[in-house]
């Protein structure tokens, strides 16, 4: 057992880095988010307003972007979970010979630069891209499907990017499920499907929740991929924040959006950790 003093010492380096590079800038940003912005002039010094926050909830355009971002986060998380679980299951429970190649296959996308990967998806998904050309040549469709600058494109691109995180979390969770416990359920009259639903799945709940939080948070804060696959008009919160800062120079608005994003992330993490506790009956 380490004492409280040594515990603090152990996390001190990380705490220091977080404090200097994350907490301090965030706190500095807080006053900005309550300042007034005059187009053409910039921030009005000494002003105080709730306007920047109210606009996020009331303005139709902002609201649409926020809801779109949350929907995207949810969609990517669900897709990653549904496609990732079978892969993770295969890695852990499949033939040991397949474990390394499969794991490498899952990790491989992480070795490519984000921009390169997004360009790759553009090549595949544009109106005259590989996918559409193939489908037209096969005679399955007459006009190209709209696969980019909309939800479809973002879902495909982001699921591809964040799938490894989900799979790795699920692999760790599945490895922690004792085979004896599953065997015990089987000897008690449980079919393979029932063993999965009643034992394996609940016991991997921590991994499912952990992976989901990770993918959700990464998705709603992703900037590069939504910008490239969504274009300048199909905005999500991250791209909108970027534009507010860099294009419109509306720092107060951008800051307010940033805080709204951070707040929703925290709420979601809190809710899911409560859910884990109830679902898995442990932790």
């Amino acid at each position: 057992m380490t004492g409280q003093r040594s515990a603090w010492l152990l996390i001190a380096p990380l705490l220091l880095v977080l404090l200097l590079s994350f907490v301090v800038p965030l706190v500095l940003l807080l006053p900005t988010s309550f300042q007034e912005y005059q187009p053409g002039q910039g921030m009005v010094a000494g002003s105080f307003t709730w306007e920047n926050y109210l606009r996020i909830a009331t303005d139709g355009y902002y609201r649409e972007v926020v809801l779109r971002t949350l929907a995207l986060g949810l969609g990517v998380t669900v897709l990653c979970l549904l496609t990732g679980y079978p892969v993770a299951y295969l890695i852990v429970r499949g033939h040991p010979r397949w474990r390394l190649p499969l794991t490498l296959l899952v990790i491989f996308p992480l070795m490519l630069n984000l921009v390169v990967r997004s360009f790759g998806w553009i090549v595949l998904l544009t109106n005259r891209g590989v996918v559409n050309n193939l489908l037209i040549d096969l005679g399955l469709i007459e006009r190209p499907l709209k696969l980019m600058f909309n939800m479809t494109g973002l879902l495909i691109g982001l699921t591809h990017i964040y799938l490894p995180f989900m799979v790795l979390m699920l692999v760790a969770a599945l490895q922690n499920v004792p085979r004896d416990v599953e065997a015990a359920a089987a000897t008690l009259g449980s079919s393979r499907t029932h063993v999965f639903w009643s034992v394996t799945l609940p016991l991997t709940a921590p991994g499912i929740i952990g992976g989901s939080i990770l993918v959700f948070v990464l998705t709603i804060s992703a900037l590069v991929t939504p910008r490239m696959l969504g274009g300048p008009t199909y905005q999500v919160m991250a791209t909108l924040i970027y534009d507010e800062y860099m294009q419109l120079l509306d720092w107060p608005s951008g800051s307010a959006l940033s805080f709204a994003l951070a707040a929703s992330t925290l709420v979601i993490i809190w809710l899911s950790s409560r859910m884990t506790r109830r679902w898995a009956g442990m932790a």
């Binding site: 008690l188 449980s190 079919s191």
Partner: protein, 353 residues
């Protein structure tokens, strides 16, 4: 409840044979243990009976049913694991109810049967707890309750007491014996602990190298081992070399033992097994006793162990109750060792060991 029979069971992994042609029957209500060192194939046999492994060859019958290729959930068995293998996300009640629910039990009857099972392992009132809130011994009792609640036709135990400390193990052993007497369920018990196997079982199968060396009543296994492996594995035997001469086993330097039974031909080489606890230590000579000197003495509470060097140089370890007068013998003192003819186990030299 029904009997269990294995017919010519073979399990191979590639070229290694883990179980070689195992055949035996467990009668209805009988308690049979498989005993052996780790890697002898005993757990493999148990897992094949449970349906967690498929035999390469052979047939497994539960009652009149051929279950060889059936999955575990179709076999109506109860299995108690070394690791307890409780469902950590379910309460004790739900753990025990799991098998009953699979059989379509629900409502009041379910509740009654779960509580009866918990009562049987003396854990009544623990239903609402989670496994992690229980001690190791309690968890193992829950796991037993879970296995017996659906009234399986066969009960299987895979080293159930190995994870418990010595004191708890003794308590659980008594618990198990009591439970087994109440239920009389056909039981296959796998262990590497001979005291456990001998005290619990109607019959014990001693395994080595994938082969069942001897399957017999505990008394037979102990007093009349079938071969050198069983003789050396059970109890704490001394092993001496000798030659059959005129109805005795000559050890050399004029020392000889006269066993009750001697099936070996005159002049053949033999091995003699003498259990530490079957040797009487005397201060004065007696006809047939072996003369020697005490070489070492070790006190361990209830027992004193004496290492005695015989006249021809071989050493024998003898156990003496520490209350005995001879327990105070010191190194260098002369002693005489008397062994009853029926306790002298003679086996041919060089047999499987």
């Amino acid at each position: 409840m029904s009997n269990l029979s294995l017919r010519n069971i073979v399990k191979r992994y590639g070229k290694t044979e883990v179980v070689r042609n195992a055949s035996f029957q467990i009668a209805e209500g009988e308690f049979v243990s498989l005993l052996g060192p780790s890697g002898c194939g005993k757990t493999t046999i148990l897992r094949m009976v449970a349906g967690l492994l498929e035999p390469t060859e052979g047939q497994i019958m539960i009652g009149e049913r051929d279950v060889t290729r059936l999955p575990p959930n179709k076999r109506n068995i109860g299995l108690v694991f070394q690791s307890y293998a409780l469902f950590p996300h379910m309460t004790v009640f739900e753990n025990v109810a799991f098998g009953l629910r699979r059989k379509g039990e629900s409502g009041k009857p379910l509740e009654e049967r779960v509580n009866a099972a918990l009562e049987m392992v003396r854990l009544g009132g623990y239903g609402a707890r989670f496994p992690r809130q229980l001690s190791g011994g309690q968890q193992q009792r829950v796991s037993m309750a879970r296995a017996i609640a659906p009234r399986p036709s066969i009960l299987l135990f895979d080293e159930p007491l190995s994870n418990l400390d010595a004191k708890l193990r003794d308590e659980m052993q008594i618990e198990l014996k009591r439970l087994q007497q109440e239920l009389r369920i056909t039981t296959l018990f796998v262990t590497h602990d001979q005291a456990e196997a001998l005290s619990l079982s109607d019959r014990v199968g001693v395994m080595h190298g994938g082969v069942i060396q001897q399957l017999d009543r505990p008394e037979e296994i102990y007093h009349r081992p079938a071969n050198a492996f069983v003789a050396s594995f059970i109890g704490k035997p001394n092993r001496l070399q000798g030659r059959i001469e005129a109805g005795t086993v000559a050890l050399g330097a004029g020392l000889a033992l006269r066993p009750e039974r001697l099936d070996l031909p005159e002049g053949s080489e033999a091995e003699v097994f003498l259990r530490q606890e079957a040797i009487r230590v005397l201060r004065t000579p007696e006809p047939g006793a072996l003369a020697g000197t005490v070489a070492l003495r070790a006190f361990s509470g209830p027992q004193v162990q004496l290492v005695v060097r015989l006249a021809h140089g071989a050493e024998i370890v003898v156990e003496v109750p520490s209350a005995e007068d001879t327990a105070s013998l010191a190194p260098g003192e002369p002693v005489h060792l008397a062994i009853r003819p029926r306790d002298i186990i003679v086996l041919p030299q060089g047999a499987a060991s």
